[in-house]
Amino acid sequence: MKRPLLTFSFVLIAVIFSQAQDFRFGQITTQEMNMKNYKNDTSAHAVVLNEFGKSTINIGSDDNIKQIYEYHVKIKIFDPKAFDKGTVKVLLYSNDKNEAYEDISDIKAITYYKDDNGFTQKAELENKKIYPVKENKYWASAKFALPGLRPGCIIEYKYKIESFRWDKIRTWEFQDDIPKIYSELEVHIPAFFTFNASIKGYLKLTKNKAEVESKCFETHGASCDCSLINYGMADIPAFKEDDYMTAPKNFASAINFELVEWQSPYDGLKHKQTKEWRDIDYSLKTDYSFGGQLKRKSLFKDKIAPMIAGKTDELAKAKAIYQGWQKWFKWDNFIGIYSDNISRAWDSHSGDVASINLSLSAALAAAGLNSEVVLLSLRDNGAINTLYPVVSDFDYVVAKVNIGDQAYLLDATDPLLPFGVLPFKCLNDKGRVFSLDKPSYFMDMSLPQREKSAYILDVTLTDDGKLKGTLTNYSTGYEAYKRRVEIKKYNSTDEYVESLNNRLPKWKITNAKIDNIDSLDMPVAEHYSVEIKVSDKPEDASKLTFSPYYIGRRSTNPLKLDERSFPIDMGMASEDRYTLIVHLPSNYMVETPPQPISLAMPNNGGKYLSSYQPGDNSFSFVYLTQFNKSVYGAEEYPSVKEFFNKIIQSQKAEMVLKKK
């Protein structure tokens, strides 16, 4: 997965006076009005004609430092499918401390359209049709719909947000689900503040200009110059999502900002935000919501005592504490890496990811174990920036315990996860290992986790046209976790088996036994006695033709397109193995056996094998599919697709049984 990533340092090029770069509001051209489609992408339902954003760090109306964000866009709408572009929802954040949300103002919106007589008209948004909504404790929104939409119209709107989050310059997304002719972001950053900017995606900037504005920032007697930077991009294609893909965020072009350091305009003190990993290590360690919580080992000394009583082995202790945590906590569905108070979370049995896993790590340390934590970015949050140190890309934290030379990653938010197995959503890019006493370091999060299932169907063909025997299914690794999740959807194992039986009308499950449902470290083993209806009247025919791919047969290719521009991300390697053993009545013999086949993807990417073994009035047939990688590059798409195609091809063949 290669991703060009550029950094910019704010070099002062020349001191000049700058002018506003925004395009004029309320101006359209005849050419724009008459556009029938967008020549670079005739399938587009709309195109952004021009888009301009401006982020300025300045003193707000309440005399505090603010980020002032202005947004302005003009969109050509070709057909009704893009009318949703005319309904705008602007999200406004609150830190939930004082119920203050970011403040939106200066909303203006106009639609230009041709009336029934072909004259260009405009319709303006009325202020009373702007709807403010308090969504929940973290988010409010302002919603409005552009008036007078019709095919061929142009919409234009702008607004301004005053945000208390001066330290988080908004990410600018160059690429959207419709193409853009031009998009530009302008940032004004006073010299008191230093930010790093990074570009994601494969598109190149067409404008990248830095200047200095003199004396643009002034508060309480302190003043400084600003960096004025313009990032522009022309002819941006629409971003289209594919199946089997991680976060679009990883691939769509955007520019992100990270505060590196700042100097207080009030007392001149310097604050390093992110510079070197050791600075981040220090700030995390001293952060009350992170290191401050991790340190609270003593909280858990007596709480873990009963869990590890009598255990001397380190692994046994770690497992006991992990299981204790899984049982104690109910995850409140919030993610994040900071916890206000792990003690309060403990008392309430409830917490976010950080509270649960930071406290787990503290407890493991309290038991004398070598305990660390790993900061990571969930799959839908995208990959992390590894070019320079940032902490804001991380949105999840898990515990890590080192026993001997073995490391185990632990997430106690899910009671069904085995010790040392992380949920699928965590398997993404790199994680940063952090501890209170050592420097932090990166680890690869594409862990050697696998999902593996093995089915063994051992049956006898009976005179009444049935297959009777046993089906055994072993689910190992992550597959075992998925199986348990499925089983636990039912109130009891009996209800699970009943449901399984109900979903397979041709199967009758006469007996069932499932092992290791609650032994999370073991494979789930399902044993069923089954009767399968094969044919209504087999005695009619002297020949019986049937497909040996009784379970797990593929008949459609999941990859449908000819080509692909993004990697195929399957999350983790997998293996499915099916074994069919059939005992035949003495008057039957195999006339056409299935053909053994062996397929392999290039570079050991995966394989498909089948093998046939005749026996005494019986035969066994094994077929197995292996995917050895979690991610296949876009260039491997044709071979993965063809791999599926070949499997489907081979599974069409049938075998023939003949009466002697």
């Binding site: 308090k134 929940n136 049995h349 109130n491 039986n501 009308p505 069409k652 063949a653």
Partner: protein, 635 residues
């Protein structure tokens, strides 16, 4: 008007404190445990109407959660809008032995907006789920909510979801002697108990005990038809400052017309002029209405906006004219105004929408809140025509499966009138396909395939038609289960007349359609239309089988296969004839021409539950037949 009925699960505490019930989980009757994730131990819901603009609700409930799957059943959700007042929220958590472990109050609740799909919606919800990890546990809580309207009362549905058993639930309605109500009871064992309380108020009380947990049963009738419930409608009521009274649909329709709809159809003179102009050369009123409907479609689009009096009032026609958008109410009101400009009368019709079930308004029980959508009815002489005004693409007179075959309330000049929307019978919901293919020696399939969609199937390609060619090809590859489908030409035509149809023609090839191995060819006989749905079996099914609407599929495929081969295995020849459906599939090889014919028909209706296993077997036989693999062997 797209929302669950009114708002509030409220009620009132009027009973004196009773002896506290023990919430020990082991005291739950054993026969309530099967299929239950949670058990309502004790619920008391009371509505007290103090005045026309003052109804107090009290909810008191204790629910035992047996395992993780039941957690959400214990979530406390209090819906409200600006005019509602919530008071006295408090609750307690008990462990499996009934020992108190925690107390909570309103400060724990989060208050969220629930109308995220709308441009605006005043409805909000306060909610809280106590975090407990040891099962079973019990949450007992109560709260009070005051509403300023008496037009809608929330129905009492003690067993409101799958996996929840009910040990005991009571519902009490209290009002002054002068406050008359209408009652609709459903599936109740015990009769209502009526009386007078010490303040001289009338009381109505219902109770249920020991309801078992419901299971999911495929092809079930509409939930509300078999659930236990009580609905109450007022005679006199107040609603956001408006007053009214009704005893039947006619009165209610009249009140809506007079109070919510009056004087909302004025249009700018220019618009009136324009619609007159575009229809001036048309004499047939139906064709005139069609022209106006198409004009409305080309001009407007749907956005959900829940403003106006209690969400029931459409915004002004002149607003739609200027803004070009509206919700279903506004768009129907606007279309009516346009029609009126050319002297065509039409009705604003209130309907319960939905594809899965055709839900009729209850003919014997008039109340607001049974519906969620508005459609248009144009009563031409001998030809009543219906239209949904929220789509920009469907033909005039086409309702599709969203509002077909159900009773709706039409607002006529004579008051409210129940009308029934048209039914699309099985024979008219047609997907008819004819294909001619060649399979060459390499196993490649090539040829063309033409499909006609009618009735409720008419809309099947509407989404695709909104896209350009390259995107259409991608979508077709997902529509058809043909691997390696390479489309060479695609044409889709729509006839938007009064018997609309869509015709799709595809010319294509697909390599590796047939596998050649051991001197034999193998390929799937049914290339385009394989049924994979088989409803799961249900032991001891409780509900009748409901097939909401019928459908007919006809496929005829001719293959030219490599010469000199014969069929190796038994030919496909299936013929099923059931009351709820018919299926035939057969094949014939003559020389190198292999012909495959398939006809599948489902007949809409309600069938006795004893037929359910037959329905499962029917679908399984269809799925098996559709999987038929042709084996060709050298002569």
């Amino acid at each position: 008007m797209k929302r669950p009925i009114a708002a509030c699960f409220f009620a009132v505490l009027t009973f004196a404190a009773k002896a506290q019930k023990s919430y020990d989980a082991s005291l739950i009757p054993k026969d309530l445990l099967p299929y239950a994730s949670s058990v309502v131990r004790d619920e008391e819901i009371t509505i007290e109407v103090k005045d026309l603009d003052n109804a107090i609700y009290h909810v008191k409930k204790a629910i035992t959660v047996l395992n993780k799957n039941g957690d959400e059943d214990a979530r406390i959700v209090i819906y409200h809008d600006k005019s509602d007042v919530i008071r006295g929220v408090k609750g307690t958590v008990y462990d499996q032995f009934g020992k108190q472990t925690e107390k909570f109050s309103e400060s724990k609740f989060d208050d969220v907006s629930v109308g995220s799909g709308s441009l605006f919606d005043s409805m909000r919800a306060k909610h809280y789920l106590p975090p407990v990890t040891d099962y079973p546990y019990t949450v007992a809580y109560e709260y009070e909510e005051r509403s300023k309207q008496t037009l809608n009362f929330d129905p009492w549905i003690p067993n409101a979801g799958e996996g929840i058993a009910v040990e005991k639930s009571t519902f009490t309605f209290i009002c002054n002697p002068g406050f008359n109500i209408k009652i609709k009871e459903n599936n109740l064992h015990d009769k209502v108990v009526t009386g007078l309380n010490k303040d001289g108020q009338k009381t109505y009380t219902w109770q249920v005990n020991n309801l078992k947990a419901l299971r999911y049963e495929p092809l079930s009738p509409y939930f509300r038809n078999y659930a236990t419930s009580v609905q109450i409608a007022p005679e006199k009521f107040a609603y956001y400052g408006l007053k009214g009274s009704y005893t039947n649909w006619n009165d209610l329709g009249k009140w809506i017309s007079d109070k919510l709809m009056a004087n909302r159809q004025a249009l700018p003179a220019q618009t009136i002029e324009h619609v007159k102009e575009i229809t001036q050369n048309i004499t047939d009123p139906k064709l005139k209405a069609q022209k106006i409907y198409e004009y409305m479609q080309s001009k407007t689009h749907y956005i959900s906006v829940q403003v106006g009096i209690g969400d029931y009032q459409p915004f002004l026609a002149s607003d739609v004219d200027q803004q070009n958008y509206g919700d279903c109410k506004a768009l129907v009101n606007y279309t009516q105004a346009l029609l009126k400009a050319v002297n065509i009368d039409s009705y604003y019709c209130i309907v319960k929408s939905g594809r899965q079930h055709n839900v009729s308004l209850l003919s014997d029980f008039a109340s607001m809140g049974q519906a969620d959508h508005i459609i248009l009815c144009v009563p031409f002489k001998n030809d009543t025509t219906w239209a949904d005004c929220t789509s920009q693409t469907i033909p005039f007179g086409y309702l599709g499966d969203f509002t077909d075959d159900r009773t709706v309330l039409a607002l006529t000049p004579e008051g409210g009138k129940l009308l029934h929307t048209p039914k699309y019978p099985a024979a008219l919901n047609l997907e008819k396909r004819k294909a001619e293919f060649v399979i060459n020696a390499d196993g490649e399939l090539s040829g063309s395939m033409s499909t006609v969609f009618k009735g409720t199937e008419y809309e099947n390609r509407d989404e695709l038609l909104k896209e350009q060619t390259s995107e259409q090809y991608k979508m077709e590859r997902k529509n058809y289960p043909i691997n390696n489908m390479d489309i060479q030409h695609l044409e889709i035509k729509q006839d938007k007349g009064f018997d609309p149809s869509t015709t799709e023609t595809i010319r294509m090839r697909a390599r590796d359609y047939a596998t050649f191995q051991d001197g034999k060819y193998y390929f799937l006989l049914n290339p385009a239309n394989r049924e994979t749905y088989v409803p799961r079996q249900v032991r001891n099914r409780l509900n009748d089988v409901n097939i909401t609407r019928g459908v007919t599929e006809e496929d005829e495929v001719t293959y030219t296969v490599p010469p000199g081969y014969r069929l190796e295995k038994r030919v496909l020849d299936v013929n099923l004839d059931k009351s709820f459906g018919k299926f035939t599939a057969n094949m014939e090889l003559k020389g190198d021409k292999l012909t495959y014919k398939r006809k599948f028909q489902l007949i809409g209706g309600t069938y006795d539950k004893s037929l359910y296993q037959d329905v499962v077997d029917f679908f399984q036989s269809v799925a098996d037949a559709d999987e038929y693999n042709v084996v060709l062997v050298k002569n």
